[in-house]
Each structure stands twice: as C-alpha cells, then as structure tokens.
C-alpha cells in the first residue's frame, strides 16, 4: 500500500533516454567492479615457496573500529617473519578477507579461505558470535583458527587456539578489584552489554560469581543494547537511578564495537564520574577510546592482559615497530599509533603458529596443533606467554587500568604472574564435569 500512495508522476520514455540509461548502467557496473577489485587483496608472490594464511577480520561495519587494527598487526607480524626468511623457508602469503561485521558472512569467508585458498591457518574474529559462526566450518574442514580476543569461555575446540583471555583472566579479577577497598568496595552491580553471546554468558558467570560473594539479585541490574546502538540516554539514567538506591555501585560493561563511543560520550556529558560510579569495560581499549574526549572519563576502568602504557623492554620495542609499520604502510592511524590487548594477542598468535610449524616441521594442522602446546613467546605485556599444554588457552597476566586524560591507561592493579585460563568457568553449573582439554574425536578415528 505504500506504493499505492504514490502520486502519479511523469514517466519518460524514448530511445535516447533508454540509451543513456544503458550507458549509465554500464558505468555503474564498471564502478562497482572497480570497487570490488579494490577490496580484493594479496599481491601475488613469485619464485620462493609460499604458504598461505587467512586473515578474517571485519574491515567494515560496526566491528571495524576494533578489528581493522588486528588485520594490520597480523600483516606486520607476517612482514617481520618474511623479512627473516619466512617459516621453514616458506614465505607467508596472507589472504585478507572482509566479513564486514556480518556473522553468516564470517562462515562463508572461512570456508572460502580453507577450501579455495587452502590456507594453513586463519587469524581472525573478534565477537564471539562470529567465532561461533565459523567454528563448525573449522571443525568440519579441520582448519586452524587463532582467536585473539577475550571471550566468555564455555568452549574448547581442537581447531581453535584462544590467545585472548578467558573469564578468569579478565572478568572475575576485575570484579574482585572493584569489590576491594582500593576499587571502591562496590556492593551493587550494573551488568551492561551488547546483546549477543559474549556479554550474556559473561554476565551469567559474573552473576553466579557475585552471588557466591553474597550479592543479592536485587543488587544486580542487567541491561543489553543491540549492536551499533547509539543512544545511551535512558541507560545512563537507569544507572543513575539504580546507583541512588543504595550502596556503592559499579558498572561492568561488555559493550562491543562502535557503540562504545556514544556510550562514553553520554557518560561524560551526563557527568557520571568514576569516583561515584566506576565503569569497568572488557572490550574497550586504547583503540576504542581514540575518538573520545577522555577528560570526563578519567578513572573509569578497563581490564586487559596488556596495556600500551606498560613499561618493559618488549613493549617499547613492539610499540616502536608498530609505529614504524603504520608509517611505512601509510595507515590511517600513522599519526597516532596505538597498541592494545587484542593486537598483542593477535601478534602472539602469529608467532605461536610460526614456532609450532617449525617445531612440527610441517604445515599439517594436526601436527601443528600438537606442536603448539607448551609454546612460549616473550610477549609485549612483559611476561613469558605460554600456550597451555592442554586447554588451547594462553597463560596470561591480568592488569586493571584506569583511563587517563590522554586516552591511555594507568595500571592500578595486576596479578603477580601469569594466570592459567579456565575456559569452563566454575561459576556455571555442570562445568565441573567438563574436561580441560578438547575432545579429540577426529583423531581417535584415525
């Protein structure tokens, strides 16, 4: 009926016009195909033996704010390795695809990488929904995915190495910190997130954890917003109201993607200060705060396993490399090169794979997988990062940082050393029976 409401307007027809239209359509197709070529990637490499790896990060859409740098840091690691002779004499040839923050597209692109490009390993995904989308593809085709972002746990696949944090390496320590005297001794909790599997599961774990610490259900408020949500007025008003209803309140934010910018802008504009209601975020790092005026946000927190402001030799060297790389490649952020936790995890992932290949002396997925166990790498976070012998997760140190006026973080708390990941959180019922290693059905069949 919408069309029915159309006022009748002129309809022009004629030979000349039809011609023009045709040529316009031609021009259009041409423009579209040129654009498509522009999107495609990877220059052909000649002579030397090569091995392909896939890079599967959203370069457009709501997650591009977070994922684009991960693509670049993987390419930087590849360049470094190639400059030193590659892996086992093979030059690495990265195949970059753009799944465009579109979850089913992740699966399609993953299939393309594994079947058409025949990549030896894939580095990619940020959101858990994208990882869940590609997981069946990797398990079916026996591929290898290095996943560089903190996530909710509840998963160990033999085809995935998780170089980001499990809940006990990020979420739980952060909440414990906020409960402590130094963290403000919070008694009431707002669990705020984007509406998908990672925030929902993390909040389920946190709710169980808080309950085990004696927090009543009435002292927990859970709220979710869609991806790309841009209007946080009511949410902030609800937080304000909730915090006025009693004891000290803290907000745990699992908001992902570019929604964080309007969220923090609104937080600053509405004058909700960290000394009153601290917000601790698990998906906000240096990169996400790039476009935000952080002066009103000083003191809000983030929990990560790496911060750009960490002071150690590895980090200094890494930051320098990154700055030089962004300049050499004329990347958009060359003027202000930032590093963050998932970048570090992505970088570690590439090197773990390289070392494992060299140890296995093969690109075969099953051999590389076994060789990855127990690999170590001197990480920019300052610790010796170790891949667990069994559970496919890295041992990581946990840092809690407060936002500074310049968008960097002050580390206010850290663990003494690396923490082993618990992908099966003890705060979810039934997890105590699950094994801390992947099921190896496929291997038994052999």
């Amino acid at each position: 009926m919408v069309f029915g409401a159309f006022p009748k307007l002129i309809s022009l027809k004629g030979k000349g016009i039809a011609m023009k239209r045709r040529s316009f359509v031609k021009a259009l197709t041409l423009a579209a195909s040129v654009a498509a070529i522009g999107l495609g990637s990877s220059a052909a490499l000649a002579q030397q033996k090569t091995v392909k790896i896939g890079v599967l990060h959203s370069l457009s859409g709501t997650m591009a704010i977070s994922e684009t740098v991960l693509k670049d840091v993987v390419l930087m690691a590849v360049d470094e390795i190639n400059a030193k002779g590659g892996v086992m004499g093979h030059k690495i040839e990265p195949v970059v695809v753009d799944p465009a923050s579109n979850w089913p597209l992740f699966a399609e692109k993953a299939r393309q990488l594994l079947t058409q490009d025949k990549v030896a390993a894939v580095f990619g995904c940020w959101t858990s929904v994208s990882r869940k989308s590609v997981l069946p593809v990797f398990e079916e085709l026996n591929g290898l995915l290095f996943y560089p972002v903190q996530y909710e746990g509840e998963e160990i696949s033999k085809n995935v190495f998780y170089t980001g944090a499990a809940p006990n390496q990020q979420a739980i320590p952060a909440v414990e910190y906020l409960m402590s005297k130094d963290g403000g001794a919070a008694k009431r909790w707002v669990l705020l997130g984007t509406d998908y599997v990672y925030p929902r599961t993390t909040n389920k774990i946190l709710r169980a954890f808080l309950k085990s610490k004696g927090v009543a259900d009435s002292d927990i408020m859970e709220d979710y917003t869609p991806f790309g949500h841009a209007d946080y007025q009511t949410i902030i008003a609800r937080i304000k109201k909730f915090s006025s209803e009693g004891k000290k309140t803290a907000v745990v934010s699992t908001i992902n993607g570019d929604s964080n910018v309007p969220f923090y802008k609104e937080l600053g504009n509405q004058g909700l200060k960290a000394t009153d209601v601290p917000v601790v975020a698990f998906s906000v790092g240096e990169e996400e705060l790039r476009g935000v005026d952080t002066k009103p946000l000083v003191g809000h927190l983030a929990a990560w396993n790496y911060f750009m402001s960490l002071k150690n030799a590895e980090n200094d060297a890494w930051k320098k490399k990154w700055a030089a790389y962004t300049k050499a490649k004329k990347l958009a952020y060359a003027g202000k090169p930032l590093t963050n936790d998932p970048m570090e995890a992505a970088y570690i992932g590439v090197y773990m794979w390289k070392q494992a290949v060299e140890k296995a002396k093969s690109f075969d997925v099953d051999k590389v997988r076994v060789a990855t166990y127990g690999q170590t790498f001197k990480a920019p976070s300052g610790i010796m990062s170790k891949m667990d012998e069994k559970n496919h997760h890295l041992h990581k140190a946990v840092f809690i940082g407060e936002v500074k006026g310049d968008g960097q973080f002050n580390v206010v708390w850290k663990t003494k050393g690396p923490v082993k990941a618990q992908p099966w959180s003890p705060f979810i019922a039934g997890n105590d029976k699950k094994k801390d290693e992947p099921a190896l059905m496929a291997e038994k069949k052999k």
Binding site: D182, G184, D258
Partner: protein
C-alpha cells in the same frame, strides 16, 4: 586550630617545606598510607599541599629514586621543598592515583575550598562533598555552614553535615539529619536514607527515615520523568531531522529513495572534512558554523545529480526507483569506503557541545542534545517558510499536488523536481551534520537511519509534513518510554511491531491527505 590553618591557607603564606615524611608516604606507600598522608598534608594547611595533591590527582607526580617531583611538561618542581629542578632526571616513575585516592583528594581539596570567596568554587566543593565525604571533616563543614548564605551551596552543605551525623551522634541529631535529608532532592539523600532506614535500630527514627525516603523518592521521580521526557524529545528531534528530507523526497515527490541514509552519511562526512579544514585554520571551535551550510550544499548537490541522472527517468515506476536508489546507496557507501576507509572517522565535539547543564539534582541535560533539538526546530521552521512563503515552495506544492495543471500554467515541472529533490537531500545532509555530534560517523551510518526515516514518514502519513513532526515525536517518546521499562532491545522490537499493526489498521498513517491529492 583548623580555622587557623585554613586562614593560613587562605593567606597563601610563603612557601615552606612540606612534611617530607607525608610526601614520602604519598609517593611510596600503599593506598591506606597514601590516604593517611593526604589527611596529614591537608591538616598541615600549606597551600602547596593543595597544589601537590591536585598534581597527584592529575597524574603529574613522579618519583626519581627517593625524590618526589611534580612534573609538568619539561618542567619539574621538588614536591617537598618547592624548588625548581634544573635538570629532570631521565629515569622517572609515575605515582599512580586510583579512584579511591582521587576521591579522597577531591574531598580534601573541597574541604579547603569551602571557604573560598568565589561562589562557584564553593558550590563545586559542596557538590564534591555531598557525594559522601569522610566524617573527619564534619567540623569544617559546620564552620562553613555558619558562614554560608548562598541558596545553592547551603542545602548541599546541610545534606553533607546531615549525612555525617547519621553515622554517629545523638538521637536528636540523627532525627534532625533524617528530616534534613527528607527535604533534599539530591539522589545521594536517597542512598543515605536507605542506609539509615536499614541500619537504624530505633523504631521512631526508622519510621521517620522511611517517611523522609518517600518524600525524596517523590521528588526524584519528577526528575526521572523530566529526564525521560527530554530523552524522548531528543530522540524525536533526531528522527525528525533524519526523516524531514525524506518527507519531501518520498512524502511529497513519491520517490522511494533508498539512498536517503547515504545522503545523511554524506552530510556527516562533509562535516568531518570541514572539521579537518577548520582545525588546520585554527578555528576548530567554530567548525559547525561552516559545516552546516557545507553539509546542506554537498548533500543537496549529490541529490540533484542523482535526480538528474537516474531518478527522473524512473518517475512513476516505484519498483525500479527502489532498486535503482538501493543500488546507488551501495555505490555511495563503497565510494566513501574507498575515499575515507571503512573505519569510522572521528568528528569531535567542540567544547561548547560537551558536558551538560544540571537542571535538577538527578537530571543533567547534555548540551549536544539540546543543540540538536533547537537545530531540528530551526530546520523545520526554515523548511516550513520555504514551502509556504517562497515561489519555489509554491511550485513544489503545485507540482506535487497536480503536476499536469502546474505544467499547464507554466511551472517548469522537471526543474522543480530537481530542486525539490535537492532540497530534501540537503536536509538529509543537515541531519548528517547533526548526527556527527552524538554518534559514530562511518560508511554505513545511513543504514541505521533509513528504516527509522521511512517509519516516521509512513507513520505520520505520506505527503504530510505535520504528520512527520508528530510521528517523530510519538516514536521518540514511545521508544524511550519502552526502553526505560524493558531495555533497548525489546523496545526496538515493540516499536516495530506497533508500527506494523498501526499501518495494517490505518494505511494512510496518522494524518491522511484529504481531497483530490489523496486520490491520485
């Protein structure tokens, strides 16, 4: 003793060395020791203690070996002696202040500032303290209360004092405190009363606390409703801006313009580009003044080019128009991706668009949203004037109402179509300019608004400007009201379902066109 020290502080006595032990504790101790040191330094009353604490809170304190320095840029001052350090040591460690320390410092500094001669400074200090201050400064607050006459500062101080007395003190003083809190409309009063009602052993006091609590709740509820109303108006104004352009291109002209969102996006990117130029020219604070006309012109020009090149051949064929404009929207998005990159670009708010105005104790209205509401009103007014008072407006109305007749009396209908489409597109550009101030600017910015825009226009009644305005406000309020009950996800679904049912029942929208125009 304290007053004497305050007097000393006010007189800004010449510098003498701070207590080195306290400074050392501040720099090297754990959090508890640091808080102790803050107390000691404030009690010392040295103006330089205030300076040191402020520097500490701002992250300007560093240590080098055993030495404690205040470092600003390349200049360093010794924290203990106050002497300038000629050569800054290369190896320096930051002394990190966390939220707890910053809170303690803010409280300590605020306590000192309660005696400032500046009203604004006192007000800020009182606000700071009302957030829950340490009971040790009660005598200071009482002293300040005696002298305070300002109607804004006084109630805050009274509340602070009342809160402190709730925790200790005699039954009478607690009762007075509870009554005092009952007359406050600050959200902190509610927390304090809740705490008191739960902790109070005395039955009378408990009842009194509950009575006060109800009174405070009643007043706070007003603030919440006001905040909700503002959020509704704000969302309504954004929807209105996004939909106004479409109300012309779709509502009046009948072009199903799927590229409308991209015209908004182009306006936003124009703002981004203008921002860059103006920053280079050193006029960053004023870039919006240039960005508004620029966004209108660029989007309008793109819209006119589209109309001339594609859309005018498709008048009267809605399906083809829909497909063609959808294709154009993809081309425009890809073009922007190619030029500016797929990542979001940063458009920063000028200083006057940051922060907000506090209208009630629990309501802060952000400046950027206020500005957008007025901007939307201005655009609406300008558009109304243009359509109703100018010759172009007359032509547009004439052509859209009866094309054949308008053509007969000599109106150049084809040209009017182009101008009208350009006008609608230009207004979309203005919407884009406004949206940069509250959201992200990326190539798919428009995608988020195209559905909302069509929803507003169809809901309001196609061909009706007034309908668009009402529809934007109704949807804005409905969305915010639902959001505050059910959360953002459910609210979005509920509004869509509501629109579907509404259009089923009333396909013509809120306001139907009557007469001949409706029959075509």
């Amino acid at each position: 003793m304290r007053i004497l020290l305050i007097a000393l502080w006010l007189a800004a006595s010449p510098a003498f060395a701070l207590d080195p032990a306290a400074v050392e504790k501040l720099a090297f101790g754990d959090s508890d020791e640091k808080i102790e040191a803050i107390g000691a330094l404030v009690a010392g009353g040295d103006p330089r203690a205030a300076e040191l604490l402020q520097a500490f809170s701002d992250g300007e304190v560093q240590t080098s070996g055993k030495r404690v320095l205040i470092v600003r840029g390349e200049e360093g001052v010794d924290a203990v002696t106050g002497e300038k350090v000629a050569q800054l040591p290369a190896e320096r460690e930051d002394v990190v202040a966390n939220n707890r320390l910053r809170g303690a410092i803010a409280g300590a500094l605020a306590a000192l500032k309660l005696f400032s001669a500046e009203r604004d400074e006192r007000l800020a200090a009182a606000r700071e303290l009302s957030g829950g201050a340490d009971a040790s400064i009660l005598p200071l607050v009482r002293k300040a209360l005696e002298k305070e006459a300002d109607p804004d500062v006084k109630p805050l101080l009274e509340m602070t004092a009342a809160a402190m007395e709730l925790k200790g003190g005699s039954k009478e003083s607690r009762l007075a405190a509870i009554r005092m809190l009952g007359s406050s409309s600050h959200p902190n009063a509610k927390s304090l009363l809740l705490e008191a009602a739960a902790a109070e052993a005395d039955e009378d006091l408990k009842l009194e606390a509950q009575k006060s609590l109800r009174a405070v709740d009643g007043r706070l509820a007003w603030g919440e409703w006001l905040g909700l109303g503002f959020a509704g108006v704000s969302l309504g104004s954004i929807l209105l801006l996004a939909a106004l352009g479409l109300a012309i291109t779709y509502g009046l002209m009948g072009v199903i313009n799927m590229a409308h969102g991209e015209l908004i996006m182009i306006g936003a990117y124009t703002t981004y580009v203008v921002q860059g130029w103006m920053r280079d020219a050193g006029l960053f604070e004023w870039y919006l003044a240039a960005a508004v006309p620029a966004a209108f012109l660029v989007s309008g020009a793109v819209g006119m080019a589209l109309e001339r090149s594609v859309i005018r051949w498709l008048y009267g064929r809605p399906l083809e128009t829909l497909l063609a404009t959808w294709g154009i929207s993809l081309v425009l998005m890809q073009a922007v991706r190619t030029i500016f990159g797929a990542q979001n670009v940063q458009v920063e708010n000028p200083a006057f668009m940051s922060g907000g105005i506090q209208v009630l104790a629990n309501v802060v209205l952000p400046w950027n949203r206020i500005a957008i509401i007025f901007f939307a009103l201005a655009v609406l007014a300008a558009m109304w004037l243009l359509l109703s008072r100018t010759r172009l407006g007359l032509y547009i109305r004439g052509v859209t109402q009866n094309r054949a007749m308008a053509s007969c009396v000599g109106v150049p209908t084809a040209r009017v179509d182009t101008w009208a489409f350009g006008l609608g597109s230009g207004i979309a550009g203005l919407a884009g300019c406004a949206l940069t101030q509250i959201g992200n600017v990326g190539p798919d910015l428009g995608q988020g608004y195209i559905v909302d825009s069509f929803m507003v226009v169809v809901f309001g009644g196609v061909g009706q400007l007034a309908g668009t305005v009402y529809a934007a406000l109704v949807l804005g309020f409905a969305n915010k009201l639902l959001e505050s009950w059910s959360g953002a996800v459910i609210a979005k679904i509920a509004v869509l379902v509501f629109i579907i049912f509404f259009i089923q029942r009333r396909p013509q929208g809120l306001f139907a066109l009557r007469g001949r125009a409706a029959e075509t």
